[in-house]
């Protein structure tokens, strides 16, 4: 290994040297030596070297079509390929910066996943990462960010990771070969939309033999290709140097990642989702103190991906459940892309990375604060902390006294907080976040103390350090700093600049750690009430800092914070809002735009925060308090609104606008003149102006201005100054418009190009090469357009939409924009979720990424789903109906009980007991609905110790229904109890007369195949002994008619279908609510239960196979059997043992008779002999003849061979046939001669 590494080291050195040179050497063809000789030998006819085109020119005939069929096939294949290329692009609705791409590193345990991530991080940021926990965001290029996630080794984690991966790096132990995990993961990926996949072979240094290594590489590569596609990239990491992958190889891998394109996946572009990279518990601490198992409020942070997230969307947290999002706030990007200055590459300062769960990135941003983590070592403890240190002997818990003091500190703090919170709640329903966060950190601090002691030993052992669970992130942060403190310090100082100067710092002492809370200046005036308490402590600091603040930056931040206010403060007064607005809305144009919106929008939607008369309430009991609390206000609201609009909740439901009170007299000339231009008979130019004007700048007001606003004047008060401001805003706008137009044109061109060459999407639009390529693209597109007009128009229409969307939305100001389109993808969001079970916090493990997926309309409902399912070919058994399976659909994972079925040709869904072996079947189950065409993965066993393949089946959702119509066959069996001519009474088939009434007219059949029909229930007098005779009447005897008379012993069948009920059961997998290493246990299969309880499989005796009784053989006369085609078969039958009469009797002959008999026998003997001889002679003669013929034909063949191949073969077959006929004739002659 050492040798190998040395070599590679040298290699890399060489390459590094080479990289300094400009340009590459071109390849020189060998002119001497072995390879040159080989080449010259291989092409003596010079034709070899020519390209195909040249050959075609030289010898056109050789490339002409020889067969029309082939030509047609080729042509259609060509068109087929062309069609395949043409596809309507999925419209990309994302605007602005894309969220970091998620790179999931997956592989079996001990394959080097974390090491790879560490190496890649090192490559990108030049920082060492001590441990990989949670997503790590880095900036990989000027336009690109990446988020690395290590896929956990259990199947739940793999399923979740497959749902958010943009690129999956599949790590494969080269020395061992493929493991099941890789294939399982691939299968999951394929069913949840296939993102990009790259294989990485590791542990290649274990091969000593180079040849063997080469062969293994080849073998693995080909196996990999069969699984994905031919040519799929498989990367080789040859070995370790100083415990790390070689720099060169990591560099290459990074290059591969950096050029990777990520196609949109249909499920993801229609659902918003967040890969959570930071997780906090913000439950009020006193609530937790009172009841540690109370439902928690948590905040989740992460980049928004997929599509825009609107307020009021419900979301699914994988492994936890469905929750409404009670608070969404857009935060400043913690890892922003570098500014678009013109320079090559990234500066070191811009190589940010952000990994709060790994404890890196010392800045943490919140809605209204920024946290800076400071290592424990740097903390100067305050008075009580001195005692603390003494009281804590190494490796032991703190003593009781210290605990007491601590708890006192805690409670004191929280009382303050409580007071403040009450205020805050009353003023506005704003969440107080800061303190809870800190509080949470206190709690975990306790355990921290214990663990810190032996952190060095635990460093290597990832698993043990997980014991801390929730505290892990804090802990690592301290470790990190301990390891490489100087580096960290440097790093943190680098990270600060972009957001540093608009917040103040505030020092808090908390249990041995100083936390410098940074408060934004603007927050101070909004909620100065809240801060006042804290201000006492360090008021001077605040003042001095506040003066330094930059005005513009401040404004930006204000913007952000105000829309959070907008969302949160439902009850806040509007005037207040406007007051705020006047402060921070700097540009006039923006302001006027806002005014415009609000006026009409207010009219329609009421005041920004108030709700309409149709108040939305939840019926859940817990919110009743709130309802009462808010009632008076809501009602007041309603009243005021009613004054404006309709005063009747029971107003007639009519779309027609009837109140056209004054119908003008349209005969008068003035009026006609006023609308003349609306008709084609009028002035066209004026009419077109009408459309243009309004499209261009809404500010360009004519005389009509007043009239329009006159309509709204009586309803809206703040109208007067509007038109003035319009004019002022105009000049600003004109410039903007021109610039905007140019920009849009560029964008349109770019989009066109993207559509044509989706592979170049990530190019910088300003680079020269891009422009050139674009030109080329446009030219080629022209050509293409002629050819594929229809498709092209379709594509273009779609792309235009993108431009239109961007243009339209850019017009709006931020607040309205978020209201209209929701939070844009790529923004860093803080999402608050309430009433989450405490287990989620307790069992939180940063190594298991949390996925938060938004649900579309109707997806939270439950119903029957029909999927087309196929058992996985590697799963060993077929699946049994009603055996619970765990399915993963959309974002969800849940256990459900499926019923398998197959569709008969008449559309009936017939139940199957087991899935077919190699076929698709339908499966119906109960569960949360997912839209059609969603991929499904089914798993039966979640445990990690299962050796075999864990994915049992894959499926696609076909449709969902509220009713499930699956039937199974049922055979009703009855016996004849009385038979008339063709009518019979059948008993035991039905249990009651009512049942018979249901089946009147149903077809029945006897075993022997006589068909019949159910008529009616039998009157008791006829069928049974009547009551008079003492027997009690039996119900359920049916009168049936048959096509023939049936026998008493016949069994009669009625084939019917009975509805199968699908169990209404589903059980969401709550894997995030339990320790991750524990296997989730849900409903068990019957087989499992039997195994556990040691119960035998019940046996139905009738179903067992018995020895078949011998059927009495039927003899046939030999005359028949001899001549029949089945003569051979007939021999099997044994005929009667007794010899015939002729053979049995003894014949005594007369002397004369005896003589005659002897003579006849003699004659026969002679005759037989004669025939024998004659035959042999004949045969000999014939054999001779044949031989001579053969010789002759052979000669002929040889002469004719050159002429035509086909005739020859045909002749040969003919000859064969002739021979065959001759042979038959011969045989028959022989038979005839022998007199048989």
């Amino acid at each position: 290994m050492a040798k190998l590494s040395e070599i590679s080291h040298q290699k890399s050195k060489k390459k590094n040297d080479g990289s300094n040179e400009q340009g590459h050497k071109s390849h020189r063809i060998r002119k001497s030596g072995a390879s040159a000789k080989k080449k010259s030998k291989s092409n003596p006819n010079s034709n070899e070297g020519l390209s195909k085109e040249q050959k075609k020119i030289n010898n056109p005939k050789a490339f002409a079509f020889t067969s029309t069929v082939k030509a047609k096939r080729l042509q259609s294949r060509a068109t087929e390929k062309e069609q395949k290329r043409l596809h309507v692009p999925t419209i990309d609705r994302t605007t602005g910066e894309p969220a970091p791409f998620v790179v999931v590193v997956q592989g079996p345990p001990q394959v080097g996943k974390s090491l790879l991530i560490k190496c890649l991080i090192k490559h990108y940021t030049k920082h060492n990462l001590p441990e990989v926990r949670g997503p790590i965001t880095i900036i990989s290029g000027k336009q690109r960010r990446l988020q690395f996630v290590e896929c956990p080794n259990d199947i739940n984690g793999m399923i979740d990771c497959a749902k958010f991966a943009d690129l999956a790096l599949l790590l494969i132990d080269g020395s061992y070969g493929f493991e099941m995990e890789t294939f399982e993961f691939l299968n999951i990926l394929q069913n949840h939309g296939f993102p990009r996949v790259m294989g990485v072979l590791t542990h290649l240094d274990k091969f000593k033999d180079v040849k063997k290594l080469k062969k293994t590489k080849q073998r693995l590569k080909h196996r990999f290709w069969t699984e994905i596609y031919d040519g799929a990239k498989l990367f080789y990491l040859s070995g370790l140097i100083h415990g790390k992958y070689t720099k060169r190889e990591v560099h290459n891998l990074a290059r591969f990642i950096s050029v990777m394109k990520f196609p949109p996946l249909s499920w993801r572009v229609s659902h918003p989702y967040i890969l959570v990279d930071r997780f906090e518990d913000v439950t009020p601490p006193e609530k937790v103190h009172m009841n540690s198992k109370c439902d928690r409020t948590v905040t989740l942070y992460g980049y928004l991906r997929g599509c825009n997230l609107k307020k009021g969307t419900k979301a699914h947290i994988a492994g936890v459940g469905d929750y409404p999002l009670s608070g969404i706030t857009a935060l400043a990007d913690p890892c922003p892309l570098p500014s678009a200055a013109k320079k090559k590459g990234l500066r070191d300062k811009e190589k940010l990375f952000y990994a709060p769960m790994s404890g890196l990135g010392d800045l943490l941003y919140d809605k209204d604060a920024v946290y800076i983590n400071i290592n424990d070592h740097f903390v100067q403890f305050s008075k009580d902390d001195g005692a603390n240190e003494e009281g804590v002997p190494k490796g032991k818990q703190r003593d009781v006294g210290v605990e007491l003091v601590k708890s006192l500190q805690n409670t004191k703090y929280s009382v303050d907080e409580k007071l403040e919170k009450i205020d805050a709640r009353e003023v506005a329903d704003r969440e107080v976040l800061l303190e809870p966060v800190e509080q949470y950190q206190h709690e975990i601090k306790d355990e921290d103390g214990e663990l810190d002691e032996d952190s060095d030993t635990e460093d290597d052992d990832g698993l043990e350090s997980l014991d801390g669970g929730k505290i892990s992130d804090r802990k690592t942060s301290s470790q990190t700093i301990g390891d490489s403190s100087d580096e960290e310090a440097l790093y943190s100082s680098e990270q600060r600049p972009p957001t540093q100067n608009n917040f103040k710092e505030q020092l808090d002492f908390h249990e041995g750690r100083v936390r410098r809370k940074a408060i934004f200046e603007n927050e101070m005036d909004i909620d100065d009430q809240k801060d006042s308490g804290e201000d006492d402590e360090d008021g001077q600091d605040d003042e001095s800092d506040s003066t330094d603040n930059d005005a513009t930056e401040n404004g930006d931040d204000e913007n952000l914070s105000t829309h959070s206010d907008f969302s949160a403060d439902d009850e806040e007064d509007n005037e207040d809002e406007m007051g705020n607005a006047s402060k921070w809305k700097e540009s006039l144009s923006e302001r006027t735009a806002l005014r415009h919106n609000i006026n009409l929008m207010q009219l329609v939607y009421g005041k920004p925060a108030s709700k309409s008369s149709t108040e939305m309430k939840d019926t859940s009991e817990e919110e009743s308090e709130d309802d009462e609390f808010f009632k008076p206000k809501g009602e007041g609201n309603k009243k005021s609104k009613e004054g404006v609009n309709d005063n009747d909740v029971d107003i007639d439901d009519c779309s027609k606008f009837l109140s056209n009170a004054s119908i003008k007299d349209w005969k008068s000339e003035d009026l006609i003149a006023s609308i003349r231009d609306r008709f084609v008979t009028g002035d066209w130019s004026k009419a077109s102006l009408r459309n243009q004007l309004s499209e261009g700048a809404p500010g360009d007001n004519d005389d009509g201005d007043d009239a329009v606003f006159g309509e709204f004047e009586d309803l809206e008060t703040g109208q007067k100054y509007e038109s003035h401001q319009d004019d002022i805003g105009d000049s600003h706008k004109d410039d903007d418009l021109a610039a905007e137009e140019r920009r849009l044109k560029k964008l349109a061109l770019r989009a066109k190009f993207d559509a044509q060459y989706p592979s170049f999407t990530t190019y910088n639009p300003f680079s020269l090469s891009f422009l050139m390529k674009m030109m080329m693209a446009i030219m080629t597109q022209r050509l293409v357009m002629v050819k594929e007009m229809e498709v092209d128009t379709l594509i273009r229409r779609k792309l235009n939409w993108r431009q239109v969307n961007i243009a339209e939305l850019n017009e709006l100001d931020e607040v309205t924009r978020i209201e209209i389109e929701g939070y844009r993808t790529g923004t860093y969001l803080r999402i608050e979720v309430r009433d989450v079970p405490f287990q989620m916090v307790e069992n939180f493990d940063p190594c298991h990424p949390i996925l938060l997926g938004g649900l579309a309309l109707g997806e939270e409902n439950v119903g029957y789903m029909q999927v087309r399912l196929k058992r996985h070919r590697w799963h060993k058994k077929v699946l049994k109906t009603r055996d619970p399976i765990i399915v993963s659909i959309g974002w969800r994972r849940y256990q459900t009980v499926p019923i398998y079925a197959i569709e008969d040709s008449n559309g009936r869904h017939r139940m199957l007991k087991y899935t077919p072996e190699h076929m698709h079947c339908l499966a119906m189950f109960w569960g949360p609905l997912a839209p059609p065409h969603t991929g499904v993965v089914a798993v039966q066993n979640l445990s990690n110790n299962q050796a075999s393949f864990r994915i049992t089946a894959t499926a696609t959702v076909l449709e969902f229904n509220h009713a499930a119509r699956i039937v199974k066959k049922i055979k009703l069996v009855g016996y004849a109890c009385k038979i008339f001519k063709k009518t019979a009474f059948i008993e035991d088939m039905f249990t009651s007369d009512l049942e018979i009434a249901r089946f009147e007219g149903a077809a029945i059949r006897t075993v022997s195949g006589i068909r019949g029909q159910v008529k009616k229930a039998v009157k008791e007098e006829i069928a049974n002994k009547s009551k008079k005779k003492g027997g009690h009447a039996k119900e359920g005897i049916a009168r049936c008619t048959f096509e023939d008379k049936i026998k008493m012993g016949d069994i009669v069948f009625l084939r019917a279908w009975s509805q199968v009920e699908i169990p209404q059961f589903y059980n969401p997998l709550t894997t995030a609510l339990q320790p991750r290493d524990k296997t989730w246990q849900g409903m068990k299969t019957v087989a499992e239960l039997r195994r556990e309880q040691n119960l035998p499989v019940p046996v139905n005796k009738d179903s067992l196979y018995k020895k078949v009784k011998e059927v009495q053989s039927i003899g046939y006369p030999q005359v028949i059997t001899g001549s029949s085609a089945f003569c051979i078969k007939a021999q099997r039958y044994t005929f009667s043992k007794r010899p015939l009469l002729e053979n049995r009797r003894a014949v005594v002959m007369e002397p004369h008779e005896r003589k005659v008999h002897a003579l006849v026998q003699h004659l026969q003997l002679i005759r037989n002999e004669k025939i024998k001889n004659g035959n042999s002679r004949k045969r000999r003669r014939e054999r001779h003849k044949k031989w001579s013929v053969q010789r002759k034909s052979k000669f002929q063949e040889e002469t004719e061979r050159g002429k035509e191949g086909k005739v020859h073969t045909r002749g040969k077959t003919k000859e064969k046939a002739q021979k065959f006929i001759i042979l038959i004739l011969e045989l028959s002659a022989f038979a005839g001669a022998s007199g048989i």
Binding site: V88, I675, F679
Partner: protein, 459 residues
Amino acid sequence: MGKVSYMRLKGSQNLRLRLLLSTLSTTPILIEDIRADATWPGLRPHEVSFLRVLEKVSDDCVVEINETGTKLKYKPGIVIGGRHLIHDCGTSRAIGYFLEPLIVLGLFGKKALSIRLKGATSSMTRLLGKSLELYNYDTVALICITNDSKDPSVDTFRSTTLPMLKQFGIPSEGLDLKIQCRGVPPHGGGEVILSIPIVQDSLKAITWIDEGMVKRIRGVTFSTKVSVQFENTMIHAARGIFNHLLPDVHIFTDHKAGDQAGKSPGYGISLFAETTSGCFISADTAVSYGRVDDEGELDDKKKELSPPGDIGEKIASVLLTKIEQGGVVDSTHQGLLFLLCALCPQDVSKVRVGKLSPYGIEVLRHIRDFLGVKFVIKPDPSTETVILKCVGCGLKNLSRKEMLTWDDIPFKDLLCFRMASQSTSLIRMGNLYEHNKVHNIAVNGPQKFHVLAVDQSIR
């Protein structure tokens, strides 16, 4: 998830809109105080009738009404659609009341909807019997009043509403409204057949702000159980107004007699103006004796019907007023337009309308409540119109069966599939290369296919 949480609403206003939105967004609703203080509390017959229609076209929807009818619980099901449905609408409201929501609902069904709507009459059984014979149980049909002064008439639906749907990418095949019989208040007796195709995936967002210029005016007059002369008078009067502006005016007559004329005498007119940019602006009314259950019934009976000449002139004037107001649709269709915009995929839709109608405003509010879509409403001062913008909620037709696109079919030449758009044409493919026809389908874009059978060995 197990517990159903209802959205609470109050009052009887916009009941059908609420029910419609509730079905589309699968939000259960609970409406209280439905005319609680009125002399006749509770739901009106037409509202009950509308609930019945909902039950007919959807699967597993649950409707609970309290004894007085002042409280309604509605849990929506899946819209199934289907052919040959029949519904009796009653006579309290005209067919337009039912058509408006049904059109939108039908688009998001599992199967294409075809319903026959009828107005109830004393000879209901006869009518029903006839229809059953004719349609073999399989079409949705409504019986009712087709023309009314309160709701948009069926002619308007044919001429204006259905073309509007095409703007949203709904195929015109299968989109149809047939008028079998006409009926006017008070006794009705009309009958129409409405068929609506389903949207395969979702609607298409629109930018529709070009009103264009009116290039032609068309219209239909009808008369039931009255002389044809009424129609001619109306046409004459209407033309008299339009002649100052436009020569291209054609108003057709539709005189119904016998069974097709319904039960009551009446006449009416429906006019629409088509612009150069494909907008339709309509106005209509119908004249007949008042409903029996209306207040002041006796007066209505006595009152003379307004003369046809006045009606013609009045409706022509209304049409001109609507044209003057501007917008790509008239005030009646604003609500529908907003709703369709809100149901579009997550693209920006931009439309121009005239003055916002009260119903339009209500629709906007309800859309906000149910679908979470807010519109940006901007007045356009130069034209005295309003421009509305929204980003659609991205509603997809979830109830449809899964259709495979061309790309999804793995081994095309071994499949046997059916084109979804024309459910009758069955194409069997032995070998793809032999069937150029099939090829063309693939070229023509994102048509979807319904795979009937997949050779299982190839998957």
